[in-house]
Every structure is written in structure tokens, then in C-alpha cells.
């Protein structure tokens, strides 16, 4: 055997020694150095007896800005894992966690710890333990994260009963000071309007005295019960703490009881936690349903049909519809007795036009609804392009009535054309036209009927819309079917021409109102563009009928007209397509505050009454009500006297929060007036919210808020 060369070996000795020491280190040391988390396991004491339970402190010291996780890590991450290798019969119980903090990262939120934390692991010894030292081994894996995450594993060994008799009670006591307190406050929970709602009602009147409520956080043990990133609404009232937070993805029925923490900063500036548990509240847990059929006022099918009929009838009086109806009616007076059959045909043609148009509209609305759109009656007016289109239509009809140009067919000449097929077609389209100009107007009674229609089955909904159409067509239909009624109509004469010209003005007024609505939606620039569009259209229609006969000049003029018309329409409509966020929100004008669901929830937590007005610029009934009953000095005085908080929601443009609110009261359109009475000091509850009628008088408002 050759002698091993000594020199190379010597060079190897130190490195080898180093490796041996490092490799063996985990066996002796209880500290493991990781890049971002230092973990140390510290037993309560090293002298133990059989049957005892001691706590082992799992100490984490983290680099700045790095964190580890709580039992429920929140949106991402995992809690630390400890794998124990224990002597026979030794058992560990669940880790006891100190109060975690909410740690946000972008749109996500986690629950965990930064800096220095101690978890406590209870260890129970069996009834019989061997003599001599006992060795416990633990493999600890923590996920430590800042913006990125790193799992760090460390090995630890604890030796008990080895004669060292170390006492680490101070470490344990310090850790205990950071634990959430089990105060035992009675907790009930429920789900309402997409929120988890928790009520704590302790007997001790001082229970909440040191809570700074604005720092309160809700941290449930189970995942998915709340949206971890949503803000919490908390309030204390009569020693009852109510906490609300948006629900998470997990069905509440999956848990039998709620185990949760609340954390807060106390009046001394210290961070505190309280551990709570409780059961679902006794009251029926309202499952939040979109088209909430269960909270709809009892509108039966029959009631909806009747309301729709009445609504349709009243629509005839609206300035948009009235001219159409009156001209149709007048033309009937020219008819003789012999043409009764034709009159009836005319009546049916008109009714068909109206009813079919309503059916078409109903179909479109229902298709949109099933595609998930948040729609309500009047939603078409939330679109500026539609508003301008309707304004143009009304303006053009007005021009026709003023005699700027003449339209043949159906409109004013029914008497002559009744015998011919084209007359009936014309009448049919007059019915379509009447429906069209009726859409911007919401008549009373229509609100509840529309709400019913758009939340029920397709058949029921269609039936209500058909009833509405029938109501609209009914006056004319009756005139055509009941000859004696026609005798009530004034006799034809020269006055008819003047009357026709007069009817242009309600049309112009309606067009002007729609331009005002447009101004609310897209700003003043669009008003200029809209009006210039009107001028171009008026010119085009006027010039069309007055073109010279001579071929080349005629062609030139035709081209000119088309160009001007095109420019005008492009200008007018162009402005409406600009996706503008400009719309006049009724910013705290006088007593009115802008409506948001959060603000309403906040106010309802308090004791004072709340009045909610849902309105829109294009809703005439709303505007009239505000003028007549809401924005009056008397009403203002009553509101001030009774400390009624007034919220106004502007639905001129799409607003999903307002749509949801309307739906929760079974409505699909505006106006909607809801009054929440003040909290009764005896029972601690508010009365059920009262929905006011759609046509208000000062007396109705005064009575409702008494």
C-alpha cells in the first residue's frame, strides 16, 4: 500500500472540517438562518413531567417588508407548516395564532404577520414518559413573501429533560399578550344584499369603549366568506356592534357557525384582536337575488295588466303622443256613416301597429335582460344617440305639422285613403309612430306594471306590454268602432288646418326637452351640434319639396340638400357618440345628497329618517314631482325639522347601483321614492321602508314622512 500523500490531505482538512461542522449544525442548533425569515423554536421550559401540556413558541423574525401568513392566508399564500417527529405518545394541538394584520398587494388582500411574531404550539405529554432526555424534531416550512414568495424550510431540534432546566416562560407570556381575546360577545350573522352582516350584542355596556371604529377589520377563519379586499362598514349603536362586508365566493351554507376575528386599534393606539364565534341569525337569511321577486310589492298579474291598460290610456295625454292621437281622431270626423267597415279596419290597423311595436320593444328588452344587461324602462334614454334620434323624429313631425313640408299617407288624410290598402298600411305605421314617440314618456301606473313585466316570465311580461299597447290604442279604436262617439268630435272645417299647425308646438316642446336631456348627458357642446343638426334637417326637408324642375339645377340642388343633411346629421349624432362622462349629477343642491349605496347603508346605520328620490333628466313625471312636491319650501322645512337625510339618485345615464336599488323594490324605471322611517328607540329597529306613489303631491310627501 502506498503512503497517502500528506500535503494534499492537509489542504483538504480545513474545508472538510468546515463541511462537517456545517452539515452537523442543525442537530445542535435550534436556530435556522433563512434569507428572509429566521425561525426559532423555544419550549416553555425544558423540565417536563408526564401528562403535562407545555407550549412551544415558534418565533419568526422577518426581514423588513416581508410577511408570513395566518391560519386563513386570505387571497393567496399558505400558513406555516410544522412537521413534528415526536417520541411515542406525544401529541401536538392546533397552533394558537396571534392577531394577524391585513396585508394588501395590488387588488389582493392577505392576512399575516410582519417583523416579529410568535406562534404557540401546544404539546401534550403522555401519561408515561421514559427517563432521560427526550428529543423532538420539527421541520418548519414558512412561505415568506414581499412581492414575490419564497418557501423556506428549516430543521429544528428540541431536547427536554436534559438537565438544562431552562425556563422560557417570559417568551410564552410575551406571545400570549399578542393573542386575540375570546371575549365571548354574542354573535349572529346573516347575508343581505350581497353583504355578510354580523351583529355583536354583549351584555357589558363598556365592551366597545376602547374601539376606534374606523380601524376595525373583519378577519374570518374560513376562506371565501367575505371579499377580503372589500371595505368594512362598522357601527356601534346602543351597545350593538354591526359589521358588514361584501360577501366572497363561497356559499354561506357551507359553514355551520362563523368563527372570525375582528381587529382594531384601541384608544391607546395598540393593535388588538377579538376572537368570536356565532350562529346564523334567527331572522330568515335573505339570499341576495337580482330581480328580487321576494321583495317586490305584491303586484299580481291582474294588477299589472290593469295598470298597464291605464298607463297606456294616460300616455295619450302626454305631449309626445297627444298630437298623433288628435290628428288621427280628427280625420275620423271626415268620415261618413257608410264607411263604418273601413273605420273599423282603420282602428284595427292602428291598434295592430301599436301592439306589435310594443311587442317588439318587449322582445328586445327581454333579450337584453337574458343577455345579462341591467335594463329598466327608460333605459333607452340613457343612450344619448337614442335621445337625439327621438328628438329629431319629434322635430321632423313638428315640421310636417307646421307645413314646412308635407307627408302623404295615413297621417292627416285618413278619411280619403281609408278605402285603399295604402291607407291601412299608413294607419298601421301611424300606430308604430305613436308607440315610438310614446317611449320617452313614462305615464303614471306604468312603473309598477313595467317592473312586473320585466321580472316575470316572457309570457307574463309580453302580456303586460300588449296591455300597455292596447291602452294606448284604445281611444282611437273606440272612436272607430263606436260611431256615436264620433258625433262628439267637432265638425270638419278650416279650423282643422290651424289645429294641425298648432299641434306642431307640443312636438317642438318635446324635442326641446329631449335636447335638454342630451345636454345633461353629453354637455353643452352637443346642444349646439344638435340644434345645428335640426337646422340642417329643417332646411333639407323644406328645400326638397321646392326644387326647380329644370334637370341640371334640380340635380345640383338635390346634391346640395343631401350634403347639408349629411353634414347636419353627422354633426348632431357625432357629438352623441362621444363617450362622455359629463352628466350633471345633482351635487348636494340644497338638501339633496348624491345617492350611492354605500352612503345609504351608512345613513341607515344611524337613527335618522332617510328619503330616497330616484330620478332621471328624461323622466317628465320625476321633474314634475320634484317641482310640485319635493323642492318646495314647505317640504324643505319638514325635512329639516325631522332631520330627514335626502338622497337623490340620477339615472339619466347608466348606473348599476341605482338599477340594483330599483330592482330591489320591484321597479324597472324611475321615478321611485322610498322613505325609511327613523329608528324606534324602544325596539332599536327601523320601520319597513315605505314606497311612495309615482305621482306626488305635497300632502302625500308630508303624510309619508310623519
Amino acid at each position: 500500500m502506498r503512503e497517502l500523500p500528506l500535503r494534499p490531505l492537509k489542504n483538504l482538512i480545513l474545508p472538510l472540517l468546515y463541511i462537517c461542522v456545517m452539515g452537523v449544525t442543525p442537530v445542535f442548533a435550534q436556530e435556522a438562518e433563512g434569507p428572509h425569515a429566521q425561525i426559532r423554536l423555544v419550549p416553555e421550559r425544558t423540565e417536563v413531567k408526564a401528562g403535562e401540556t407545555i407550549r412551544i413558541a415558534v418565533e419568526q423574525t422577518l426581514d423588513e417588508h416581508w410577511h408570513t401568513y395566518w391560519l386563513n392566508p386570505g387571497d393567496s399564500g399558505v400558513a406555516p407548516e410544522i412537521e413534528w417527529t415526536l417520541p411515542e405518545g406525544f401529541e401536538t394541538a392546533d397552533i394558537i395564532w396571534p392577531s394577524p394584520h391585513k396585508i394588501p398587494f395590488g387588488p389582493l388582500t392577505n392576512y399575516g404577520y410582519e417583523d416579529h411574531t410568535i406562534l404557540l404550539q401546544p404539546l401534550t405529554l403522555p401519561a408515561n414518559i421514559p427517563e432521560g432526555p427526550l428529543t423532538l424534531k420539527a421541520e418548519v416550512t414558512v412561505l415568506v413573501c414581499k412581492d414575490i414568495c419564497i418557501p423556506e424550510t428549516s430543521e429544528h431540534t428540541i431536547t427536554l429533560n436534559d438537565g438544562s432546566n431552562v425556563d422560557n416562560t417570559d417568551v410564552i407570556t410575551a406571545a400570549e399578550g399578542m393573542l386575540p381575546k375570546a371575549e365571548g360577545w354574542p354573535l349572529t350573522y346573516s347575508e343581505a344584499n350581497g353583504n355578510l352582516s354580523i351583529t355583536l350584542a354583549p351584555a357589558n355596556p363598556e365592551a366597545f369603549s376602547d374601539i376606534r371604529i374606523e380601524t376595525l377589520a373583519l378577519i374570518p377563519e374560513e376562506w371565501g366568506l367575505v371579499d377580503n379586499s372589500a371595505s368594512v362598514i362598522a357601527s356601534i349603536d346602543n351597545n350593538i356592534l354591526t359589521i358588514r362586508q361584501k360577501r366572497g365566493d363561497r356559499a354561506l351554507g357551507e359553514i355551520k357557525e362563523l368563527r372570525t376575528l375582528i381587529t382594531y386599534t384601541d384608544t391607546n393606539g395598540d393593535y388588538r384582536g377579538v376572537s368570536l364565534m356565532g350562529s346564523p341569525s334567527e331572522e330568515a337569511t335573505q339570499v341576495a337575488a337580482p330581480a328580487a321577486a321576494n321583495s317586490t310589492p305584491q303586484t299580481s298579474f291582474l294588477t299589472a295588466i290593469i295598470f298597464a291598460l291605464l298607463g297606456g290610456l294616460v300616455l295619450n295625454l302626454m305631449p309626445c303622443v297627444f298630437p298623433v292621437l288628435s290628428l288621427k281622431a280628427i280625420s275620423l270626423s271626415k268620415m261618413s256613416e257608410k264607411e263604418q267597415a273601413h273605420a273599423a279596419a282603420s282602428g284595427f290597423a292602428y291598434t295592430a301597429g301599436v301592439v306589435l311595436s310594443f311587442t317588439l320593444i318587449a322582445g328586445i328588452l327581454m333579450a337584453l335582460k337574458s343577455a345579462g344587461a341591467q335594463i329598466g324602462w327608460g333605459f333607452q334614454l340613457q343612450n344619448p344617440t337614442v335621445v337625439y334620434g327621438l328628438a329629431l323624429l319629434l322635430f321632423v313631425i313638428g315640421l310636417s305639422l307646421s307645413g314646412i313640408f308635407s307627408l302623404q299617407g295615413g297621417f292627416t288624410n285618413a278619411g280619403q285613403k281609408l278605402a285603399s290598402q295604402s291607407g291601412l298600411t299608413g294607419t298601421f305605421f301611424t300606430g308604430v309612430l305613436a308607440t315610438l314617440v310614446a317611449t320617452p314618456c313614462t305615464a303614471p301606473f306604468m312603473g309598477a306594471a313595467m317592473g312586473y313585466a320585466l321580472t316575470q316570465s316572457a309570457f307574463a311580461g309580453m302580456a303586460v306590454f300588449v296591455a300597455l299597447g292596447f291602452g294606448l290604442a284604445l281611444p282611437y279604436l273606440l272612436l272607430t268602432l263606436v260611431p256615436p262617439l264620433r258625433k262628439l268630435l267637432p265638425k270638419p272645417g278650416h279650423w282643422m288646418e290651424t289645429f294641425k299647425e298648432f299641434l306642431a308646438f307640443p312636438m317642438y316642446a318635446s324635442a326641446a326637452w329631449l335636447v335638454w336631456v342630451l345636454a345633461q348627458q353629453t354637455g353643452s357642446m352637443s346642444v349646439l351640434a344638435a340644434l345645428l343638426g335640426f337646422v340642417a334637417v329643417a332646411f333639407a326637408f323644406w328645400a326638397w319639396g321646392r326644387r326647380p324642375q329644370q334637370k341640371t339645377i334640380r340635380a345640383f340642388i338635390t346634391l346640395l340638400i343631401v350634403v347639408i343633411l349629411g353634414l347636419g346629421l353627422t354633426l348632431g349624432f357625432g357629438e352623441t357618440f362621444k363617450k362622455s362622462n359629463h352628466h350633471e349629477t345633482p351635487v348636494a343642491s340644497g338638501m339633496w345628497e348624491n345617492f350611492t349605496q354605500a352612503r345609504l347603508d351608512e345613513l341607515l346605520q344611524g337613527d335618522e329618517p332617510v328619503f330616497v328620490d330616484m330620478t332621471a333628466a328624461w323622466c317628465i313625471t320625476c321633474k314634475v314631482n320634484e317641482r310640485v312636491a319635493l323642492d318646495t319650501p314647505e317640504t324643505r322645512m319638514i325635512f329639516t325639522e325631522k332631520k330627514i337625510a335626502a338622497l337623490k339618485g340620477d339615472w339619466t345615464n347608466q348606473n348599476p347601483e341605482i338599477t340594483k336599488f330599483l330592482e330591489s323594490h320591484g321597479r324597472k324605471g324611475v321615478p321611485l321614492y322610498v322613505f325609511y322611517g327613523p329608528r324606534d328607540s324602544a325596539s332599536g329597529n327601523r320601520p319597513a321602508p315605505a314606497v311612495l306613489p309615482q305621482i306626488l303631491t305635497p300632502a302625500i310627501v308630508a303624510n309619508a314622512v310623519q
Partner: protein, 222 residues
């Protein structure tokens, strides 16, 4: 001509009523997904539709995949939990098994924002897919987080399984062992495999939701 004018006008006007209404609902352009409100997709309801382009430039639209089972896997190559499944070849094995079937499509989606961990370009993503021998049907980059936000994807990995009828059948973790340790893959119950099996057998998916585990999706923190 004049005779037809009014009827024509009224018909056009009625049509005009409906078109802007549709326009109002779909007024986003050809972007990846309508980044709507915060409501997460609900198991048992239609999975939200989205359009995207994969790293090979091919267009992918969820609605076009109706009739197939679609798996969505949120991925971040540098997240230790993703590394656990990829280093052990656990993810690739599952991808391969499932995409071998004609009726399963696997979409791997990376929603890491620019400047955040795991953010890739088409080129680096292709390298990753090749190197890791991953077998998704498509790898999709979503650096703006549009699809991630649409699905409220919280972790990498976060798994979704969509049935042939377009209804979301499973949402949550890939398996029942949330450890970052590689040995955790063995013996873990794989929820995705189980969901696909149930869907193909026409049975009810036993575990339809579970708490997703992993690193947080690296959305932009702006």
C-alpha cells in the same frame, strides 16, 4: 317616394331604438375582455367570455370553445407553487393526459403585469413552454390582467374547469395539498382531474369549489 318616406322613417327609427341599446352594452373594442365589476364567476353559472391571442399569434375565444371542456390554469413560472407542479412534471402530465382527449382544451394564462414577477413576452413564454415540456392547447399572455380580473384569479395556480355547455363547473385549487413543498404533489387529490372525469361521465362534480392556493397573481400595483 314621399309615400314611403314616413313608414320608412318610422321603421328606421324603431330599428334605431334597438341598435344603440346593444351598442351601449358592448362598447369596448377588440380588447381581451370587458373588464367589468368585481363579481367573481359563479360555479353553476355561465363562465364569462373572453377573447385573446396566444403566444403563437392564434386567436382564442372562449365562446367558440363551447362543446368542449375548457381548463383555465393561471401560471407564473417563478412562483414556488407553480414550480412545485412543473418541476415534478405534475402539471405537464395532467395537461398531456387531458389535451390528448379531443374534447378538452387547456388554456394556460399568465396575468403577471409588466415589471412584476413572471411577466413574459411571446418569445420567453415559448421558451418556457418548450423547456418545461408543458402541453397546454394555448398559452395566453394577459399582462393587463383583464382576463385575470374577469375571473377574479387570485393565485398561481388558480384552476377553473368549464363544461361543454359553457357553465363553470369547478373553481379553486389544483389539489388538496396547499404546501409549497415538492413532496406535496404525491398523494394529493387532484380536483381538476376529478372535475373533468365527472363532467365526461355526466356526473355531478363532487368538489366544485375549493380555496385556491399559491402565490398571489402579480397584477399591477398601480
Amino acid at each position: 317616394m314621399k309615400r314611403l318616406l314616413k313608414p320608412l322613417m318610422t321603421v328606421l327609427a324603431v330599428a334605431a331604438l334597438s341598435i344603440p341599446a346593444f351598442a351601449a352594452e358592448h362598447d369596448h373594442g377588440a380588447a381581451a375582455a370587458p373588464a367589468s365589476g368585481k363579481a367573481a364567476p359563479v360555479v353553476g353559472q355561465a363562465a364569462p367570455d373572453f377573447s385573446a391571442t396566444d403566444i403563437d399569434g392564434k386567436p382564442v375565444k372562449l365562446a367558440d370553445l363551447k362543446g368542449k371542456i375548457v381548463v383555465l390554469e393561471w401560471n407564473n413560472p417563478e412562483c414556488p407553487f407553480v414550480v412545485k407542479h412543473y418541476d415534478t412534471k405534475n402539471m405537464q402530465k395532467l395537461q398531456g393526459e387531458e389535451t390528448a382527449k379531443a374534447d378538452v382544451v387547456w388554456l394556460t394564462i399568465n396575468s403577471s403585469a409588466e415589471g412584476q414577477q413572471g411577466n413574459l413576452t411571446d418569445k420567453t413564454a415559448k421558451e418556457y413552454v418548450t423547456k418545461s415540456e408543458a402541453k397546454p392547447s394555448h398559452y395566453i399572455l394577459d399582462p393587463k390582467g383583464e382576463i385575470g380580473t374577469l375571473y377574479q384569479a387570485k393565485t398561481t395556480p388558480h384552476m377553473f374547469v368549464i363544461g361543454k355547455d359553457g357553465v363553470l363547473a369547478y373553481a379553486g385549487a389544483i389539489d388538496d395539498n396547499p404546501t409549497p413543498r415538492h413532496e406535496g404533489v404525491e398523494g394529493a387529490k387532484n380536483y381538476v382531474r376529478a372535475a373533468i372525469e365527472a363532467l365526461e361521465a355526466g356526473k355531478k362534480v363532487e368538489v366544485a369549489t375549493s380555496q385556491p392556493y399559491g402565490c398571489g397573481v402579480k397584477y399591477s400595483t398601480n
